[in-house]
Symmetry: C2
Subunit: 150 residues, 2 copies
């Protein structure tokens, strides 16, 4: 979609051969047909998985340039500077990509109350699926940092 693409020239390199993509030193992120790339965000200190979100090229470019996490909100259909309203700004300690460069991994320090999840938890992953019980979720014991209104 046009609104998800950057205006002007992309700061990223064009996609090369499989060898260049997998073993090279050029960042050529692969965006899907909606112009998005998956972003996995972990706590730089504890390693905890905090959230999984999506970025368009502009969000990724701003993240690389500013050292703070920007995403693309698929529900609001807009660029999203994480923490701008909540104070939970994410400072990127390290940004990695994977073998085929269709995912990025952000190791972050979280400001504010240290949370990431809009439901009120530090991490979005506060429930587990028990083995052999595909319709069930169990609490992991995570506690809320703040309450959440539906």
């Amino acid at each position: 979609m046009e609104t998800r693409n950057m205006t002007g020239t992309s700061p990223f390199a064009p996609r090369g051969t499989a060898q260049e993509i997998e073993e090279g030193t050029t960042f050529s992120p692969k965006f899907d047909r909606d112009g998005l790339i998956t972003a996995v965000t972990t706590d730089a200190k504890t390693g905890e998985l905090l959230m999984v979100a999506w970025m368009n090229a502009e969000a990724l470019a701003r993240t690389v340039e500013t050292g703070e996490a920007w995403y693309w909100s698929r529900s609001r259909n807009e660029l999203w500077h994480k923490g701008e309203t909540s104070g939970q700004v994410q400072t990127v300690i390290e940004l990695r990509t994977d073998c085929d460069q269709d995912t990025v991994w952000l190791k972050v320090d979280v400001a504010g109350d240290g949370g990431c999840c809009h439901v009120g938890y530090r991490s979005c992953f506060y429930r587990r699926v028990p083995k052999g019980e595909p319709a069930k979720l169990e609490a992991t014991g995570a506690t809320k940092l703040h309450s959440h209104e539906h």
Copy 2:
């Protein structure tokens, strides 16, 4: 696509209200328009991010039932029992989902040589993007477990 859907009845619960999805005890995974859900896999012992892949409903159901990781290979367009040929079978120690249940997180023990990445590294995330340099990748110092032919 038909081939990505399970035949027969889904073992998962239907999607409920936002409150049920975010705060309930029912697993109602959200598959995208290709019938896939994002799966983030970390090492259960070290917490290291190993890989990000996708599952269709059948792969997710098999993962819950068997306690081993199954994915959907988008490049081969087929169900993928991780490690079946490489020996790098992933035993799921814990399976979590996130607030809106459109991502799953697998904490795994990896068999064989302990690797995950087809390029030969333990983790697919063996390169970083330097701050302010959006077209560049740097090695993280990760070493290969085995070599890889293109």
